[in-house]
Symmetry: none
Subunit: 301 residues, 2 copies
């Protein structure tokens, strides 16, 4: 079994390969060896982890330069990961990509039908949405938002249906680095109580994508009226003047039946890491936790 990708985990025959490191993705191999990696090789491994897939386009010499090490270190790493030589590693990295490779189109031509094309279409749509969403952000507004979330006494995230999961995700991330972050609605409960309780010191982040729910505009209006800052993350077909302090429109439409939330994820991620940076810079928030997160980055389980 050579390729990465969704693979049948056929039990027999794996043992031998696994020992040699075969059948694993580049990253998988790095993972299994990461702990025992010496400084210089680990720096190269880190580089590869940050840019998987890029390996194929870079020479060992370039990787050495970029990681600040020597060519010898690259050779040593590649060997340790179980490849015979750098060239074998490069091939492995390149061939993991089934679609979009010349080899594929030239060899198999017809059999897969248009699966490759469908894939490329999916990618295009998400790329477009992500670009649209992030590129329209304005530095000063975004800064205000991040600042408000960092300084707020309490942060509430509100979302229903699909939006609820996005809100939950964001809540989880923000909660890692500062306290008093709450997800609404809590199971089964109505949100009336919490909304009524909001003050000027609080921030309410509303994730309000399509298939809207009547509660949302009401809650936003109430929160806004109470002086709480309101961030409204929604799709681009949303109304013009919602009762919010800030509105971020997010591209979610595509050709498919369901809306696509990759761009929303991308946006929330960006927001969350911006919050981390800001908190760290201010020396506020859960600094110890942030410290730990940095260390845990290279734990693979």
């Amino acid at each position: 079994m050579t390729s990465a990708g969704p693979r049948r985990n056929d039990q027999a025959g794996l043992a031998a390969e696994a020992a040699a490191g075969g059948g694993l993705s580049f990253e998988g191999r790095i993972r299994t060896h990461y702990r025992g990696l010496p400084e210089s090789e680990r720096r190269i491994a880190d580089l590869i982890l940050e840019f998987p897939g890029e390996v194929a386009a870079y020479s060992a010499t370039e990787l050495a330069k970029l990681s600040g090490g020597s060519k010898a270190a690259v050779t040593r790493l590649v060997r340790r990961l179980g490849f015979a030589n750098f060239d074998e590693a490069r091939r492995a990295a390149r061939d993991a990509q089934t679609w979009g490779s010349p080899l594929y189109l030239l060899s198999k031509k017809a059999p897969s039908g248009n699966f490759g094309a469908r894939i490329e279409e999916q990618i295009d749509q998400d790329v477009r949405n992500i670009s649209l969403t992030l590129e329209q952000l304005q530095a000063d507004v975004f800064d205000d938002i991040v600042d408000a979330i960092c300084e707020a006494r309490r942060v509430f995230l509100l979302g229903y249906r699909n939006s609820h999961y996005l809100a939950g995700y964001a809540r989880g991330q923000i909660n890692q680095v500062r306290g008093d972050v709450y997800l609404l609605p809590t199971a089964g409960e109505t949100i009336a109580e919490e909304i009524a309780d909001l003050t000027v010191d609080d921030v309410l982040i509303v994730i309000g994508f399509r298939r809207r729910v009547a509660e949302v505009p009401r809650a936003m209006a109430a929160a806004h009226a109470a002086g709480a800052k309101v961030l409204y993350v929604t799709d681009r077909s949303a109304e013009a003047a919602p009762p919010a302090t800030w509105t971020i429109p997010c591209a979610v439409r595509g050709k498919d039946l369901f809306d696509r939330y990759a761009a929303a994820m991308s946006l929330l991620h960006f927001l969350c890491v911006a919050i981390v940076d800001r908190l760290a810079a201010k020396g506020r928030g859960r600094l110890q936790r942030i410290e730990n997160l940095h260390e845990e980055l290279h734990d693979f389980d």
Copy 2:
């Protein structure tokens, strides 16, 4: 023609650009010279036009083989296009990708400059991850997965922490088009009961990204042993032989403290729409609901 400027400009207007170091893209150069290209070189050019960007990962020898020509032809083409040598061309191809340029690689040393640059960086990272994730899917395996989910008596989605929200999202989407789709763990409860109850007719979809939880491998092993089909969606540093029927590795790493799940979203979206298509084609699932979804597409609230 001597060392300094091996650029042939037969068109006056291009002189300035080319002299400045070849401001033209790889594709642009091919187009400019295409008509005057001899047979063997044109075949190579065609190959490159189909996969600009991919060129970087291939050697001149491979391009020669793939196009059915000789190495000499590749060298000649590259020269004719105005590059000093194949290596210069390879670099150009690589850097044409907005991501993956040495410039980009080095930019991580400059502590994230202006807002626009940070945005572009975010976009690049997600684009990269999405491409990595989707392009490695294999049509037949993916088909099996979709089919299994459509035909299963019951579908369970399991995920903890961040993965729980992704699982919840997917559950919500799949639940729109077929019944008996369950999210685990249910609030507060342990999963032991449901896992013990799994049969060969069930499918368990495990979302198992980093910061892994001890329950997950246990549950997977139990489910697998009970004969249920198990789809394991995880990051690319996954172990070699998980107890799953299928494993889909998903690119989630980037330069930030938190993992980025845009690619995971993209993958789950693709999976969900594939399920809808399949169900519709089979005339199974909640056909009326699917019908409604189509109509609701243009409702904006």
